[in-house]
Subunit: 419 residues, 2 copies
């Protein structure tokens, strides 16, 4: 497994100009979204660039929950300008857009679908060298500063997919807890649920030695390798932080201790799932956000309907872990205990329901919408949701238990109402 460089500390963002200077950058692209471009995190980066005499241009047209179209707009912008380094300041939407822009600017003759995951794209391996990219996360969720993944909504099919290659992993992640103080409470909660699911899914993913086919040459091994002793450490540690700090972080915007810890947990879980992979909550989330109808997420300053990524993954989690528990009941119980369940008298066969109840209580306490029904879906949508999950094989096959279409239907149905 491999881990990107990360640097952690209040104020490390102020060093970004020096880092770029050390890299010899002369013409930098600063990428962010419209909302953030008015906020202190972007200002702090610009100040550091100016102070170090770094020439830069701002692209603030990142779409929150990007699409193929919004990726291509960013790609067009950077292709014209011969940037020699990138700084992405924002959440997963910004970091992912910046990774894609860097990739296609470095491979100008590729079609957009060339590097997109199969079966939607061609899933070609990346062999061109990319420019340095410094990621400055401002949410505490995706861990995108540590992963070689860029996710977008493929509008022609209305499903989320992505690009996955070690080559697009950021050169450096600057994890600065000061930025977390600006997040509104739903952004803290939803991005925190993303951390929760990264940790739970990577810890319960198919163990690495049971994954098949087993490529005979190590170079063709996928980035997502299944759970393994190293990713386990990151996952469990991130989960402990979520259990201890997420509620505090959501409820108190000034709780720097809680928000700092969640900011680190996001990177830790990212390192874990970036090597082990995620499975059903993520696989099923892609159609949940892709097929959004009119749901408008509280606290998200955007002009389009949106099911935030963290919400889309967590709503199915009670059903998913009830379904997977039989494959590794001890791990499921262990995570329930970390999340606060009293498991002293628990029986192994009840591991699934115990974890599911623990998750439901956790979500209820954090004011999460009452299931898929509450965000606009009904029974009639289930076939489309299942259909949108089927192409997500790259992750769903990492689930510890194989799923038929009927299984997927049942999981969506069980997720309509939570409480």
């Amino acid at each position: 497994m491999a881990v990107s460089n990360i640097r952690y500390g209040a104020g490390v963002t102020k060093e970004v100009g020096m880092d770029l200077q050390n890299m010899g950058a002369k013409n930098v692209c600063l990428m962010t979204d419209k909302n953030l471009s008015q906020l202190p995190p972007v200002q702090m980066v610009m100040d550091s660039l100016v102070k170090n005499g770094i020439n830069f241009k701002v692209y603030n047209n990142v779409r929150v929950e990007p699409t193929d179209r919004s990726f291509m707009e960013a790609i067009e912008f950077v292709k014209k300008r011969a940037f020699d380094a990138y700084v992405a300041v924002g959440g997963g939407s910004t970091m992912d857009t910046c990774k894609a822009a860097n990739l296609y600017a470095s491979s100008p003759h590729s079609d957009f679908l060339d590097y997109v995951n199969a079966p939607i794209g061609k899933g070609k391996p990346v062999s061109v060298p990319l420019k340095p990219l410094i990621a400055v996360p401002t949410t505490s969720g995706t861990g995108s500063e540590t992963t070689g993944v860029a996710i977008f909504d493929y509008e022609p099919l209305k499903v989320k997919t992505g690009i996955a290659s070690r080559a697009i992993k950021p050169t450096l992640g600057l994890i600065d807890p000061l930025h977390t103080l600006h997040m509104p409470d739903r952004v803290v909660a939803n991005s925190g649920f993303d951390v929760l699911c990264h940790a739970l899914e990577s810890y319960t993913a198919l163990p690495y030695h049971m994954r098949s086919p087993c490529p005979s040459n190590p170079i063709t091994r996928p980035a997502y390798q299944g759970s393994n002793p190293i990713s386990d450490i990151w996952a469990v540690h991130a989960l402990r932080i979520v259990a201890k700090y997420l509620k505090r972080a959501v409820r108190n915007p000034d709780d720097l201790e809680a928000r700092s810890n969640m900011h680190l947990a996001s990177a830790f879980a990212g390192i874990g799932f970036g090597n082990a992979g995620v499975h059903l909550c993520h696989g099923m989330s892609y159609p949940i956000s892709g097929l959004v109808k009119t749901y408008k997420a509280k606290d998200y300053n955007v002009d389009h309907p949106l099911v935030p990524h963290g919400l889309s993954v967590v709503l199915t989690s009670p059903a998913v872990f009830t379904f997977t528990a039989q494959m590794s009941p001890e791990r499921h119980l262990e995570t329930a205990e970390i999340l606060g369940a009293d498991t002293r008298t628990a029986r192994i066969p009840d591991a699934g329901p115990i974890l599911a109840d623990t998750l439901r209580k956790f979500l209820f306490d954090l004011d999460v919408d009452d299931g898929l029904a509450a965000i606009g879906y009904s029974k009639a949508d289930i076939p489309a949701l299942v259909k949108g999950t089927l192409p997500q094989e790259r992750v769903t096959k990492l689930a510890p238990r194989p799923q038929s279409e009927e299984d997927l239907s049942a999981l969506f149905e069980a997720s309509m109402k939570l409480y």
Copy 2:
């Protein structure tokens, strides 16, 4: 922080030929020591190279606990042969020698002292590109497969020093537990003590935000940064494994579970201390092994007096942690608890003695020599031991508590007898 690539699993060594092919290697140096060159780990690597048609030459003249002279011999060997990749199969002695050989062959006009740590050498930063190096550890101790450090005994001054640069970190570590089945019991024990001290020292090292001077430009930050939330995870996890498995691993050569876990713990602790650093046990160990008189270590198949590295670090550990405990008593108590102490009624001011007693018992149970006196030192040697510690500033200044020469004398004196 940065982490090298590592791959773990029984039999992963068989892939080394393919990995080299993927790297385009045509002329490979296989480095090991004489003893190992007769044992299955080296055979397994050679089989894989032959099977994949990789042209290679063996250098088996690595000195166990290398010296400047033995490093230079290896350097001379590789300089003549234009290798395009390296495989190091062995313990820290082999991996470190191979790192140095790769470095100086890539920088043929440098003097040997150019890259050696100041104040003994010039400590120049490495700016030349190195060849790929695959490290296959066969002991469970140094974690050298994950670090940018190469340690040797500088004979003119009779003290250990080293080369430290991210540039010499192996390209890939193949962590194959099968190799551990060949280790004799003292090699398991001593290399295990190295893991123990890496974990304890990096966990109790000066916190990263208290280190001074604080370089204004991130590029000049040393590799050893002080304890931090990320290295803490690795340290604690490695320590838990040592507590659970080291005794089993020493006592039963067929206990693959215990030996596999120690093999991983070695890499984990390496990732931890490779970022955080070590402090007094290591700083004081360098003269302890450098000034060796006639001590011959059981189970070490070598023709010279030798205090194995792991032994040289662990003998001072009870005294060192008694000395440092007042700076972070909670951490000292926590590690004592992990190592088996009952700390329920412990008082904070007793953290040091409690950890020291726990360590003494642990060492006694593992048949460790009774202190520095038992390996040939007496009170009269203390001034020389102190003098040999003074140039180890790179690590000793990471101790949480500053030390005067009198403090160092007292620590050596307290380590003469343990039980």
